[in-house]
Amino acid sequence: MADLMQFDLVSPERKLASVEASSVQIPGADGDLTAMADHAPLITTLRPGILTVEGPEGTMEYVVTGGFADVAGPSVSVLAERAMPKADVTGDVLAELISDAEAKHAAATDTAVDVAAKLVADLNALKDSLGA
């Protein structure tokens, strides 16, 4: 059994999870990464994706959009703008997020266009992976 670390998932409105975990797979902006206990201190921004937490209590999956993760040795905190247990995410919720992102993409100018386009692409990839 791997060492355990403290895992917290918080959204602006509430704390979604605060459990012991052996590994956390984070959808980082530059690609997925898995943090285990005693990972080097790291702060990364998130892209929309699935956050997988493995711990003694089993595996939990959350869908997160935007925010950042703070990995520091004995603890991992994920601060997500929106986070939901994977089971709660329906096609409707995603469709809403995607249409929001597309509207932003259409309204974006200059460098923001690329950022918005990436958001749309990430959301679509997320939708595909959920099979919703």
């Binding site: 917290d8 918080v10 959204s11 602006p12 409105e13 509430r14 704390k15 980082g28 902006a29 530059d30 990464l33 080097a40 201190p41 790291l42 702060i43 990364t44 921004t45 935007g66 925010g67 950042f68 703070d70 520091a72 905190s77 601060l79 703008e81």
Partner: protein, 292 residues
């Protein structure tokens, strides 16, 4: 002396007023608990966010390429004041204290020759400021349809503020709101949100300097600053909501007590008048009998 029927009506009407204020007090108490819970629940996020941001700001803040949201535009000519008040009245001095603070700030800025723009959140503050500073108002956010404040509301306000900032409409932005201290005490507070200001990080924060940043310090900061602003606004809205209910609760408690006092006084007056009427009648009967 008012006649008995009038007094009776008066007592009845004060009694029903007391019932209403009592009910409002209890509703406010229930809402206050919920608002406090919401404020409590939002705290971990806001604290973490602030900790990470101030660490980052300390390491990036002084470099050349620091984002404008952190470094500012280099001038402080135009100020945007975001005044957050309630949508409903009957909450004591809640709105007045915020507006008074904002008014003092406006006067100070105008006296210094600065340009002031106002963005109001909540109907009550706009009403109070409109008379004097109506021409300074640039926008108003209406939250009267919002049952419980969500992060989405804060994000919308933040978006609005950021769009204005990008369009060069202002240099400095501050928010005005009440910090919830207790049911009887709410503290009007002013916080500067643009350019972002952080308390100097605790000295020699070794842990903060060791972090790896992905994609890069600047990119993370760029991503975080707008979120930080939204978070600050969200925290302020939650504090405000709790303060409003607290203020309403104590205002309604006072009103209920005053109504009680008034009923007691009126009841004594009523009883005296009734006694006087009876005495009068007796005198009439007796003097009538004596005359015979």
């Amino acid at each position: 002396m008012p006649n008995l029927k009038d007094l009776k009506n008066r007592i009845e009407s004060v009694k029903s007023t007391r019932k209403i204020t009592k009910a409002m007090q209890m509703v406010a108490a229930a809402k206050l608990r919920r608002a406090q819970e919401a404020a409590e629940a939002g705290r971990p996020y806001a604290e973490r966010m602030l900790a990470v941001m101030s660490g980052l700001a300390a390491s990036v803040g002084n470099s050349e390429g620091a984002p404008r949201l952190l470094a500012g535009t280099g001038s402080d000519q135009t100020h945007l004041l975001v005044v957050m008040t309630s949508e409903r009245g009957l909450c004591g001095g809640f709105n007045t204290t915020i507006v008074r603070l904002a008014r003092a700030k406006i006067a100070e800025l105008l006296a210094a020759g600065k340009t002031v723009k106002l963005l109001t959140v909540g109907k009550k503050g706009r009403e109070q400021l409109k008379r004097e500073y109506g021409d300074l108002m640039v926008a108003h956010v209406d939250l009267s349809d919002v049952k419980s404040i969500g992060y989405g509301n804060a994000a919308e306000i933040a978006n609005d503020v950021l769009t204005r900032f990008d369009a060069g409409e202002f240099d400095v932005a501050s928010i005005f709101f009440n910090t919830f201290q207790s049911v009887i005490s709410q503290i009007p507070t002013e916080t500067q949100i643009v350019p972002a200001k952080f308390d100097a990080p605790e000295e020699a924060d070794d842990a903060a300097t060791l972090y790896d940043y992905e994609p890069s310090e600047e990119a993370v900061l760029e991503d975080l600053l707008p979120r930080g602003i939204a978070t600050q606004i969200f925290t302020a809205l939650l504090e405000n909501a709790a303060s409003e209910q607290g203020a309403r609760m104590s205002a309604m408690d006072n009103a209920t007590r005053n109504a009680g006092d008034m009923i007691d006084k009126l009841t004594i007056q009523y009883n005296r008048s009734r006694q006087a009427v009876i005495t009068n009648e007796l005198i009439e009967i007796i003097s009538g009998a004596e005359a015979l």
